[in-house]
Symmetry: C2
Subunit: 202 residues, 2 copies
């Protein structure tokens, strides 16, 4: 178990991802070619594509792994899907967020939102989640209504990330941006729960 083969594969995979991320952050996503990455990582281009299905996936390693459907499916009885999601993101920002490597996270966001191709790919990832979330919600509501709810939720979460990023690039300190994100998240869930016409607040 965990033979030499497996270990080397994992090693190679990580080397490729690390090299790619370095080149991307140095020169920007579009200014780096896949062949360059392969060369710098000392593998053939064809080999690189056995590890990663696309150039975008190189930059999105370990991103957008939120399991919206799982959070909803595993919620305690009596809790609404929205309450479960709200609780999850509150906990996330109080805990994990504070422990992360801020600079790395910010660099990654800068990379993603700075390239239309990457933002689009990130969007597509969220789109998959939206569908699985909709299928979970469909058990309680109809398919169409579940799809509408899931779409609103997914769009909201993506927008929160974007706002966070815009705050950062406009010069706010990370600490301040995180505080604003927490506040915006609260508002966002209020909006989802009570509707646009009923959240005139502030």
């Amino acid at each position: 178990m965990a033979g030499l083969r497996e270990r080397k594969k994992e090693q190679t995979r990580q080397r490729i991802a690390a090299v790619a991320l370095r080149l991307f952050t140095e020169r920007g996503f579009d200014a780096v070619t896949v062949s360059e990455i392969a060369e710098a990582a000392e593998v053939a281009k064809a080999t690189l594509f056995t590890y990663f299905p696309s150039k975008e996936s190189l930059a999105l390693e370990g991103v957008g792994q939120d399991d919206l459907a799982g959070i909803v499916a595993r919620r305690p009885t009596g809790q609404s899907p929205l309450q479960a999601l709200r609780a999850h993101y509150q906990a996330f920002m109080a805990g994990q967020m504070a422990a992360m490597d801020r600079d790395a996270v910010i660099a990654r966001m800068r990379l993603i939102f700075g390239s239309p191709a990457l933002s689009g790919a990130a969007n597509t990832l969220l789109y998959q989640q939206r569908r699985t979330l909709a299928s979970v919600l469909a058990e309680e509501h109809g398919a169409t209504r579940a799809a509408l709810m899931a779409a609103q939720i997914a769009a909201t979460l993506l927008t929160l990330q974007e706002s966070f990023f815009h705050l950062l690039v406009s010069g706010a300190s990370p600490a301040k941006a995180v505080r604003a994100l927490a506040e915006d998240t609260e508002f966002a869930f209020d909006l989802l729960e009570h509707g646009i016409e009923h959240v005139k607040g502030q």
Copy 2:
């Protein structure tokens, strides 16, 4: 004015678009190459790309032109943005929708939602609209809140289209699908106005 030059250009543009649409519907988006389209339309590939920026744009001619921001900006005083959008889509479905070439619309939707690349491109179009809508809404609400609202609205409209399409491909008659769309649209705006927790209806 409207010299020969302009007329010929418009003519060429439409010929390219028509040829492309025919080939796409005949054989599917992915099974048609841009070179084939250019050849069939009797232009050089480079010329084709002076008329259309991408292969996707060939299939999306005249699609996704809803001017969400304009509808909101031009609404009568006293009307909320959501009311204006709701009224617009109600009027659209009662009027324009009934007058359209149903088969053509359905074929186009089948084309778009049948290809991941095209759905993605359509998504991107809506994303642009979302930003301009947000900038209009930002005059009344803050930038972040406007972005959240715009995101929910845009995601909702796209989802309505998808649901409509799924009904069609699952065999519903166009008339029935249109009726369901009208009903879903009402629900969707209720959802936007009053929130997920307050629209338990039905």
